[in-house]
């Protein structure tokens, strides 16, 4: 077990580099929210209360919380659709309030739940909107539109000249994403962008978007009320509570294993441990020899998450499942080993709860066993 831990630790450190070298490869810029508050006149409580958020470039930060917690308001202050009552918002070091608001928004990609495609314009014209606003020449815009439609999975030849009402909800939202990416902004704001489509399409869109982000590495602020989506998509998660304050800002693993307070625990809900298993891969468990594999049982690839393994065990009624790598059976995973791993994770979590402060700092503390979590976390993401 310890050997594999050591291996994964090395992997972990190389796979997920520190913030600085990340920035170099990132297509995004850092965002800082410093004491941001929004209070509407005539109301007692703040819509957004003293938010401090350090968003590293190239990260997807999920804003989650119950309705009314201010997550959408917070996001909309970044592109100044709403002006903060106090506090500063810095994009790449510059205070957004010092910039022209209309021009600022042209440098930020904006995707909303209602999609908001212009019904009277073709798909092509929709996607070309921001490049036109910032004055690209026609040729460059045209080729960019074609490129982006391909990137979001829509054949330009077929879709460029159609109108939004001729597309399904999923297709429309793909166009919405393409439109937001058109001028290649370093930051994107996404407000429940996949909420208006059916669950199957939503999963597909999420997976494809994660693929895209792996290449583009933009800084993304993503609002959702769905905690599972937050766990799946986020590099970091900021949980906002009913008082519109940040209850916890940490990686998904950390929130699942050590929720900062009762609110976060309640918000995460039951099944936190099961959710945690989605972030772990089989390569974090020592496998029993292949010979002990029960015959006639469907094997699983070693890239599978522990969640998939447990699911298969329950479905097949087996307590042992053969594991393959590159098509060949290399070992067996047993239920007992899986449960042992869970125990290990809990022990690590408890240990961390003793050493880290309640308001978690962004990023892991290097050198601790948290690296293992990180490696597994990266693995789970890369699996898609």
């Amino acid at each position: 077990m310890s050997e594999s831990t050591a291996t994964t630790t090395t992997e972990g450190t190389t796979a997920r580099s520190t913030g600085a070298s990340r920035a170099a490869e990132a297509g995004g810029v850092p965002i800082v929210l410093d004491g941001v508050t929004k209070k509407y006149p005539g109301t007692d409580s703040a819509a957004v209360d003293d938010i401090h958020l350090d968003i590293a470039p190239g990260n997807i930060v999920m804003l989650v919380g119950p309705s009314g917690c201010g997550k959408t308001t917070t996001m909309r202050m970044i592109n100044r659709l709403i002006e903060p009552t106090s506090g500063r918002i810095l994009i790449d070091g510059e205070d957004v309030l010092s910039l022209n608001d209309v021009k600022l928004r042209r440098t930020i990609g904006y995707v909303i739940q209602q999609i908001g495609l212009f019904p009277h314009l073709t798909i092509e014209q929709n996607v070309a909107m921001v490049p036109n606003l910032v004055g690209w020449d026609k040729k460059r815009t045209a080729s960019r539109v074609e490129e982006l439609l391909g990137v979001v999975g829509l054949d330009p030849g077929e879709f460029a000249h159609r109108y939004p009402r001729q597309l399904s909800g999923g297709q429309q939202q793909r166009v919405g994403v393409a439109r937001a990416l058109a001028a290649d902004p370093p930051i994107m704001l996404m407000d429940e962008p996949f909420g208006a489509v059916d669950p199957i399409t939503r999963t597909k869109l999420q997976d494809e978007f994660l693929d895209l982000q792996r290449r583009l590495r933009k800084t993304i602020v993503f609002v959702t009320h769905d905690f599972d989506e937050a766990v799946k998509m986020g590099d970091m998660i900021a949980v906002l509570d009913k008082g519109s304050r940040i209850a916890q800002y940490a990686s998904p693993e950390e929130i699942l294993t050590s929720p900062a307070d009762e609110f976060v625990t309640g918000f995460v809900g039951h099944g936190a441990t099961l959710k945690r298993l989605q972030l772990e891969r089989l390569d974090s468990i020592e496998l029993k020899p292949a010979s002990t594999a029960p015959p006639g049982v469907e094997p699983l690839p070693d890239r599978s998450t522990l969640h998939d393994v447990l699911d298969a065990m329950i479905a097949d009624g087996q307590d042992a499942i053969p594991v393959t790598r590159d098509g060949e059976v290399v070992g067996t995973v047993t239920l007992v080993d899986l449960l042992d791993r869970v125990k290990e994770l809990r022990a690590e979590a408890d240990a961390k709860a003793g050493t880290t402060s309640p308001d978690s700092r962004p990023g892991p503390t290097p050198g601790t066993t948290a690296d293992v979590d990180l490696a597994a976390g990266t693995g789970a993401e890369d699996q898609r």
Partner: protein, 254 residues
């Protein structure tokens, strides 16, 4: 009048369909029949003079011109006013403008024309101005409703991506409001056609010049002829308005 939503033509891809010719054909038949009847009917000298083809044609042209001027005026004033009412900073004018419009509807147009005729004088412009004022409300109301019904998500996306307020007005709100504004303009058009004859005594011109003398001189044939011509004119102008409404609707939402 009709509620805004009911005025929208049914969505259709193509602007012109063969079925559309029904109304113009009907009008053509009616006019031909009437003109033929008039040429055959036993009319006395006065009546015959009242309904010569030349007169009918001349008065029809006058009528069209007056109507056109009125509608252009209405659009030029009511649309910008409607837009201003939907902008937060100038929305305070709403009660004044709408009150003016609503009073215009409650007061009888005949009375308004008479008052204008007495106070201002007779002629082309007094009639045009008062009828224009009277016909503002449909276009004003439809402009407001048309802009307000633009999907909030589309507006938010437009703002969020960095379109300037003016860009949003002219690039998103107005294009999407055109069908509804056009419906209002169509109502105003028909209203103008109907009301212009009432201004006959103010010497503005139009087919009223057949109808009112006919009443005063008790020449029923001429009265009916004049009435039919006005009816046909109204139907044709409404038909053209419908075509224009459909043609002006952006393809994406037709």
């Amino acid at each position: 009048m009709s509620s805004v939503a009911e005025q929208i033509v049914t969505p259709r891809e193509r602007v012109f369909v063969w079925r559309d010719l029904a109304i113009p054909l009907l009008c053509l038949v009616v006019v031909t029949a009437e003109l033929y009847y008039l040429s055959q009917a036993p009319l006395d000298a006065i009546e015959r003079d009242l309904v010569t083809n030349a007169r009918i044609w001349e008065y029809t042209q006058e009528h069209i011109v007056i109507t056109a001027v009125i509608v252009v005026l209405v659009l030029a004033v009511a649309v910008p006013l409607g837009v201003l009412i939907t902008r937060r900073r100038t929305a305070w004018i709403a009660p004044f403008v709408l009150a003016f419009g609503n009073v215009g509807q409650a007061a009888p147009i005949v009375g308004l024309i008479a008052i204008v005729g007495i106070v201002v004088g007779v002629g082309f412009w007094p009639v045009v101005l008062i009828v224009a004022a009277f016909s503002m409300l449909p276009v004003l109301r439809n402009t407001i409703v048309g802009i307000q019904q633009v999907d909030a998500g589309v507006i938010d996306a437009a703002r969020g991506m960095g379109m300037s307020p003016r860009g949003i007005l002219f690039g998103v709100e107005l294009p999407l409001a055109v069908p509804i504004i056009a419906a209002g303009a169509r109502t105003s058009l028909v209203l103008a056609v109907a009301v212009v004859p009432l201004g006959t005594d103010l010497d503005a011109g139009g087919l009223g010049r057949i109808v009112f003398p006919a009443i005063k001189l008790d020449r029923i044939e001429a009265l009916v002829a004049g009435g039919l011509m006005i009816a046909v004119l109204a139907l044709l102008i409404d038909w053209l308005g419908g075509l224009a409404q459909r043609a002006l609707t952006p393809r994406g939402i037709r």
